[in-house]
Subunit: 154 residues, 2 copies
């Protein structure tokens, strides 16, 4: 299940995470091998599902997405079927960047990105509060991003 990485694969991944478009030619210099094994290793890691894809990373700010809010959501029905229904519904909301089910209570931790506070309120009213089985939400608005990591859903 979990993929064993040697030092070389680690270097390859590190370079690819920094720059998805680095040519194998250049990568092979970085890791100190010839192109053949480097290309082979990349394909291997892709096929194993370790590398799941390559994405352009956009600046949320330049896109006008200046607001980040964390929302804690409590649901009323915690049976498997209800949870799956909730999960399916929230997956369709593009403004939701992350969603984890939290241990302890049956709450969800959700990260939202919005253009403004007004836009945030609209998302909450139209797309979050209306999700199945939602009973209450508590929001935490981010003032400043210290470490930010995400690609943007357009």
């Amino acid at each position: 299940m979990s993929f064993e990485l040697d030092a070389t694969n680690r270097k390859i991944l590190d370079a690819l995470v920094r720059n998805a478009r680095i040519p194998v030619t250049e990568l092979s210099k970085e890791v100190g091998l010839s192109k053949t094994p480097v290309a082979y290793r990349i394909k291997q890691m892709e096929d194993a599902g370790l590398i799941t894809g390559y994405r352009a990373i956009l600046s949320p700010l330049k896109l006008g997405l200046t607001n980040v809010t964390y929302v804690e959501i409590t649901v009323s029905d915690t049976r498997q079927k209800a949870l799956e229904e909730f999960n399916a519904a929230i997956r369709k909301v593009p403004e939701v960047e992350e969603c984890y089910m939290i241990a302890g209570g049956f709450d969800y931790q959700v990260k939202l990105r919005s253009r403004s506070m007004a836009h945030y309120r609209q998302i909450m009213a139209e797309k979050i509060s209306t999700l199945p089985y939602v009973t209450s939400t508590t929001s935490y608005v981010a003032m400043e991003a210290i470490i930010e990591q995400s690609w943007v859903n357009l």
Copy 2:
């Protein structure tokens, strides 16, 4: 500051977020223009800082990073200088995937990724609790990822 996107640029970005390695040739078919303007638009958006980079996306699970924890951190000193010190320190912790300062109290919301609960405890003890000005932390362990969005720091 904020970049104005027409429908074409939107399509280009959407394709590039889905696949950072799509050739301009193919992209131009998708958006219904010839290669020349598409290449020009991409460069334009890169230069404007709208596209900040291209990254390989890795599977945290296949890397053995099975645990996600959100940690709320309270700091004792909220003067600018202290906060900047904290920010600089937390930026050096590779296990921290996200960190936002939250409005209201002066708390931070931090997302951690770890290999196990034992590993999580070690990160907390060695790298989070020891951060400057930290007075208390509260952790929320994720049971299940519904929507997950991150690249991994190796």
